[in-house]
């Protein structure tokens, strides 16, 4: 965790009408907080939920020589749910993993272009990559709670292991469990093993864990694929409740799910953006013929 010169980070961003107080210097610093002054500063920042816009500019992603994402220009509105649909191999998971810079963790993988979180380019070389992942959280296809930790320890693991102030951890952990709709079910056994829950509960635990670090954006990579239908519907409900608080981007194979939960839907094919629009429009009167073919199941 390197400490950053606050005025330097102000130079990285465009002027922002919501100035935030930097606790170290007391002066107003423009733009989002992710690379400012280390993790301890975060707790007091982030005034309103009017942040969390993501914009991709000419994003390319490669696995070695394979060109998986080709020149994507795309924006995700804050406080909304955007679904990404498309056939297998179209690059949707890859694109999403570029947003929280997980893509480059893979051997031989790289990304080019810009990913702007509230106007700040996450690929700027001065950015602390670990801090990016606290601002942009992720939930995976198969629930993956840490097996050596209790339920509560799981939820606060992101907080503990990134140096959040001790006094806050309990409250934020509880709040995250409430937000994930899991508090009532586990409040009596917070010390129990994280892996002792059902599949749907484990996934909600992972969601709580991601929420506890207070991200602005939550990426979900087919979060319900491994769950039964009832658990799936519960999580879809949860998504609807959470979108006020975090911008949600959900990759899904299930078109009906996209139709149910998303405000905006993006259709990708062969690494390119085919169509983006309000969900009702994409599913009743899509503009592009390929979108029409895909959503009606003529291919994919």
């Amino acid at each position: 965790m390197d400490s950053r010169n606050p005025t330097e980070s102000a130079a990285l961003t465009e002027p922002n009408p919501d100035p935030q107080l930097n606790p170290q210097t007391g002066s107003a610093a423009a733009g989002p907080t992710i690379s400012v002054a280390g993790p301890n500063a975060r707790a007091s920042l982030r005034p309103s939920r009017a942040q969390g816009t993501i914009e991709l500019r000419d994003l390319h992603a490669y696995y070695g020589r394979t060109h998986a994402v080709r020149g994507l220009d795309l924006a995700f509105a804050a406080g909304k749910v955007t679904a990404i649909i498309g056939p297998s191999g179209c690059g949707k998971s890859t694109m999403v993993r570029c947003i929280n810079r997980m893509h480059e963790e893979i051997d031989g993988a790289r990304a080019e272009g810009e990913v702007l979180l509230d106007g700040l380019d996450l690929y700027d070389p001065r950015i602390d990559i670990v801090a990016v992942r606290r601002a942009v959280g992720m939930v995976f296809q198969k629930p993956n709670p840490f097996p050596t930790m209790s339920i509560f320890d799981n939820v606060v693991s992101g907080l503990r292991l990134s140096g959040a102030p001790r006094g806050e951890i309990d409250d934020r952990g509880r709040e995250a469990l409430v937000a994930a709709g899991l508090w009532e079910e586990v409040k009596g056994r917070l010390k129990g093993p994280g892996v002792g829950l059902s599949g749907g509960q484990q996934q909600r635990l992972c969601i709580a864990r991601a929420l506890a670090v207070d991200p602005e954006v939550l990426l979900m990579d087919e979060p319900c694929s491994a769950l039964d239908p009832v658990a799936t519907l519960r999580i879809e409900e949860l998504i609807g409740e959470l979108k006020e608080r975090v911008t949600i981007v959900i990759v899904t194979h299930n078109m009906q799910q996209a139709a149910r939960v998303a405000d905006t839907t993006v259709f990708m094919l062969d690494g390119e953006l085919v169509e983006i629009g309000p969900t009702e429009k994409l599913f009743t009167t899509p503009d592009d013929e390929r979108t029409e073919q895909y959503v009606t199941g003529k291919f994919g």
Partner: protein
């Protein structure tokens, strides 16, 4: 064309022959398994039978008698062995686990593959050679010491600890590391607080197995710490008694009581090794459960 379609399913003479072959193969494999188990039972059994007479509380708590006298025990050998093996473990286990962590978590394949290979070779080096090497390094021109024996044993333990640790760390599911990354947890923190605890059972197993292996290593001891009597010495700078060396010496003695004492010492040693193996297995099972969840 027959009227009954089920004739295709009827036995055409093959069935009996197949059954016989099955039973024969089964019998042979059972025999092999029985043989393997029998060997261990016979070894442990004969050690027990031949040594149990000399085994007593007195035997375990009295140091070895001086030249020619009877009525001694192996307390100094036990303590000496404990010190030698203990120091060796203190050196080899942390280094072995760290090497494993480096190769599985941080090193690129260009480094981790050669390191693995080197460790495998080291594993195969005969212990007498390791003993001679340490002899030339530390004893020649100086004197024998338990510490030198520990160094040699540590060299023998290192590849065992490292390789089993590598295997176990590699078994930690990638999804856990992904989750940790996605939470913005720094790499080393993830390794210390998540990867290692998850693999802990296996790491302990590897360590215990390594200890069990070197507890009875004799060649380095002969070269580096070959002493039998002289009371309860505990200074690692000096040569200390050890159980393997006691067995070696006692078995060469002309007196039959000495032989029995050798068997008794062997019994102590093998009981220790067996106990370690059982505990190691228990930890391994616990670790498997954690990973599978």
């Amino acid at each position: 064309m027959s009227a009954d379609p089920h004739t295709l399913l009827l036995d055409r003479g093959n069935l009996e022959r197949r059954r016989r072959v099955n039973r024969a193969v089964e019998a042979v494999s059972i025999a092999a398994a029985v043989l393997a188990v029998a060997v261990l039972v016979i070894v442990v059994g004969s050690v027990f039978l031949k040594g149990v007479d000399a085994l007593s509380w007195h035997f375990l708590t009295t140091p070895t008698a001086l030249f020619g006298e009877a009525g001694g025990g192996i307390s100094n050998a036990i303590i000496g062995s404990a010190i030698i093996v203990g120091i060796a473990a203190a050196m080899a286990i942390p280094v072995g686990i760290l090497v494993a962590i480096h190769t599985t978590e941080f090193a690129p394949p260009q480094i981790s593959h050669p390191v693995r290979f080197v460790l495998d070779i080291l594993n195969g080096v005969p212990t007498i050679i390791t003993g001679i090497f340490v002899f030339g390094l530390m004893v020649e021109g100086d004197k024998q010491s338990a510490f030198a024996a520990s160094v040699a044993l540590a060299i023998v333990m290192l590849p065992i600890v490292a390789r089993t640790a590598q295997e176990v760390l590699a078994l930690v599911p990638g999804s856990l590391k992904e989750a940790a990354h996605a939470l913005g947890i720094a790499r080393w923190r993830m390794t210390v607080r998540i990867t290692i605890p998850t693999a802990a059972g296996g790491l302990i197993t590897g360590s215990l197995l390594a200890v069990a292996r070197v507890a009875g290593e004799t060649a380095p001891i002969i070269l580096l710490s070959s002493i039998v009597g002289q009371g309860n010495l505990t200074d690692p700078g000096e040569a200390l008694a050890s159980i393997p060396y006691f067995i070696f010496q006692a078995s060469e003695s002309p007196k039959p009581e000495a032989h029995t004492e050798a068997w008794a010492a062997a019994l102590v040693l093998i009981a220790f090794v067996l106990a370690l193996n059982v505990v190691a297995r228990a930890f391994y099972a616990r670790s498997r459960n954690r990973m599978g969840a």
